[in-house]
């Protein structure tokens, strides 16, 4: 957490707002002067007074994460003025569904292998052998054998935020903007 409310180093917020950065500036710990774009984005999307209100409603130990998540949302909205973070959510949900399908297929293959159903590259021997049939293995953490994904509800965060993210959600594989919009709303809003 950088503190820059010293007499010769106004924080990025006060520099942007062209005002004196006083000791106790609410922005100073979270908007260091080395990152001017961070506050510029947050100011553009949320506005300084809304951010102040939001921060004042939080406990001090929550504010850094709140500012970082606001900065993340603001950058997402600047890059994608229509969908913002919802585009990211939709993209990630598509990935989760794709992985779910792959995992289902892999588990099905595993079960078939375990039950000796998948033919091997070499021909089977002419005599019967006492091959023991393996039962499908029960693995811990099999939660992905059940459906996963966001049905449009709100999640409680269970860990820290991703530190870096390169906004790939604009990479629509078909390049069709209409598909992006349909996909985003069906995924994010559960419609």
């Amino acid at each position: 957490m950088a503190s820059s409310s010293s007499y010769n180093s106004p924080c990025a917020a006060c520099k942007f707002l062209r005002r004196k950065c006083l000791p106790g500036c609410i922005f100073a710990p979270y908007f260091p002067p080395e990152e001017p774009q961070k506050f510029a984005n947050v100011h553009k999307i949320f506005g300084a007074s809304n951010v102040t209100k939001l921060l004042n409603e939080l406990l001090p130990h929550q504010r850094e994460d709140a500012v970082n998540s606001l900065a993340y949302e603001a950058e997402a909205r600047v890059r994608d003025p229509v969908y913002g973070c919802v585009g990211a959510i939709s993209f990630l949900q598509r990935q989760v569904q794709r992985l779910q399908k792959e995992l289902d297929a892999a588990n099905a293959d595993l079960i078939r292998y375990a039950c000796n159903e998948i033919p091997t590259a070499l021909p089977a021997p002419p005599v019967t052998s006492s091959i023991q049939h393996m039962a499908p293995r029960q693995r811990p953490g099999d939660q992905f054998n059940s459906r996963i994904g966001n049905e449009g509800g709100f999640y409680q965060p269970s860990g820290s935020m991703p530190l870096h993210y390169n906004f790939p959600w604009n990479d629509n594989p078909t390049g069709d903007p209409a598909e992006t919009q349909r996909g985003i709303f069906s995924m994010a809003f559960g419609t």
């Binding site: 994460d65 949302e73 909205r77 590259a121």
Partner: protein, 116 residues
């Protein structure tokens, strides 16, 4: 709006002009929708964001802003970034499980070949 004010203009206690930027997306029968975006973004920021978009994209943008605003009201610390973080965790976990499963399949395939 011909018959009355949109929920934004009601909230802001002003006349709703014919070309109100908010009225197509903040109908009077859903006052909570505008109050959420107003609380998080402020009406002038929302108006500016919508003005800067082509008309055919404004409805989608308004819906997304509402969604994000509601997320932020529910979770003032992480907002919808909490959802993104959770999805990343799910993806990471699924990728690990997929790699483990594929490794198990590979081992079984090799064992089968050696048995013959």
């Amino acid at each position: 709006m011909i018959n009355g004010r949109c929920s934004a203009c009601k909230y802001l206690r002003r006349k709703c002009p014919l070309d109100c930027i908010f009225s197509p997306y903040f109908p009077s029968n859903d006052p909570e929708r505008f109050s959420c975006v107003h609380k998080i973004y402020g009406s002038s920021n929302v108006g500016k964001m919508l003005q800067q978009l082509p008309v055919h994209l404004r409805a989608a943008a308004a819906d997304c802003l509402c969604y994000e605003a509601r997320c932020r009201i529910q979770d003032p610390v992480y907002g919808c970034v909490g959802i993104i973080s959770l999805l990343y965790q799910q993806i990471h976990s699924a990728e690990n499980q997929l790699a483990e499963t594929k490794a198990e399949i590979a081992v079984l395939a090799v064992n089968k070949n050696f048995q013959i």
